[in-house]
Amino acid sequence: MTSTLAEKASPSAPATARAGARRAKRRRTVLFFMAPAFLGFLIFFGYPLIATVYYSFTRYDLINPPQFIGFDNYVRMFTTEPLVGTAAYNTLWLVVILTVCRVTFSLGIASVISRLKSGVGLVRTLCYLPTLAPPAAATLAFVFVFNPEFGPVNRFLRLVGIDGGLWFNSPEMSKPALTLLALWGSGELMIIILAALLDVPTEQYEAAELDGAGLIRRFWHVTLPSISPVLLFGVVNSIIYALQFFTQAIVAASASAGTADVAGNSKLIGAPQNSTLTYPIWLYVQGFRYFNMGYAAAMAVLLFIVSSGFTWILVRQLRKSQHQEEGA
């Protein structure tokens, strides 16, 4: 640390040895800290990914050994199989719309809560409770509340003269209804954003107010920059949530078809009219119910490529914000 330019220009043998020893020691430390993570990544992600790619080139029913069939599964996925496109569309719809809505909604609610002078703890707990509910039962309760005939929501809307619509029973409204369900369950994001909002230094607000900035300008120039890392986390979290959307869609579909079931009847998935058939659901059905494991693996590979795309974008964003933080 205190080496002079002269020493650096012509390193002596003991100095290089010391530097080498330090580097080796550091490597050992890193290895010690990271060993479980490295091992875990290889065993629980690396290996399955490679195996999945392998299975995608086979016909495999998990009971008899896999048979190699080349690219047939992929050809099928892009040509003859009719529902994989619908499933992909449904999941992508959810990724885009659900992410935007979830982050905005959580931000809105958190803002309201941050302004409350009394009862903060209570409202906070109430807003978080839905997240604690088991997803299957919570979905059932939610679908019931939105029942077009006798659910409280439509009953109330009818009182004020609005026709609520068919919610989960309509192919056009089912995904928006599922989005509402997701918003209802976004308590944890809400709380995180709330904490970040409360952390914005009040001096900055006062300064902006004195500068004559109105509510909107204050929000844009003070609040947003300060909570942007949290918002980024919210976006990541919501994308994950949408990409993996499974239980809620299955349960809502069978409930809306009139035969509610906790685990989902495979004849009723995606009801109505496959509008709630998400990609993970179709993958599971193809693989575990129709015994088409090879095809499910091909679907998995596609899913992996898409989620890698999102990852790359997000990591770039993370790196950018990290550099900003470090540079500031």
Binding site: V30, A37, F233, L318
Partner: protein, 297 residues
Amino acid sequence: MITLSDTARKPPVSVPPRVQFKRNWDKRLSYIATHAVGIALGVIFMLPLLFVFLTAVMASDQAMTASLWPTEWHFENFVKVFQKAPLLEYFGNSLLYSALATAGALLSAIPAAYALAKLRWRGQNLFFMLTVAAMLLPPQVTVVPLYDLWVRMGLTGTLVPLIVPYFFFDAFSIFLLRQFFLTIPKDYLEAAKIDGCNEFQAMYRVLIPMAKPGIAATAMFCFLFTWNDYFGPLLYTGENQDHWPLSLAIASFRGMHHVEWNMTMAATALIMAPVIVLFIFAQKSFVKGITFTGVKG
């Protein structure tokens, strides 16, 4: 940028009474409006859960019908549920799964997050990217070969396949903890190292106490996720009812053709109770911990 001289230049303005009255009235309106919205929010959020509770105390033939308020109150359903399904056993399994998974996640993720946040080494950013990728990856992608693996080891039907991965690599915990650790200034760690600590001691004696709220928050996330995890236990313990956690228990009240909804909802309410209690008590530290803009002090 505001300077002291700017504020000095603007003398305190004397406000005419009418304007002051309007300002007070505005403030009161905004107070009422905000709190009204707060109350409405609370009610709306509670509605489906209220439905869960009301259904839980209904008679079996009133459940899932158009009449929303119980005509008879069957509080004994909460007891009956224990007779119909071994809920206590399931509770033990849930506790085992969630507690061990959380412990494992912390044990493996804290050092890894430390190395990612506080050390510099080649491949660091690559591994972080891989962690984020793993976080985003839906479990359905890796489930088949993993299942095969556990089958060959003869461990399906137990909670082992669910718990063991947490002791190695939990992407979400590593990510979250790394973000927390990044906000802790390096100076404290440098000071400890000058005092003679190695990296491990620095982490153990300095970083962890400072990052307690963040660690608590991560633990909470992990616990809650595993408590309500349905897909994982379904896959790995589905065939062996002795090892079912509570999340699978909800499906215990199905007959050949119908579901006993009042029982199912009673079980749901009971499953939520422990985590609700946990949250109410841990709320303060949980909320305190999940801020990204730094640990003050």
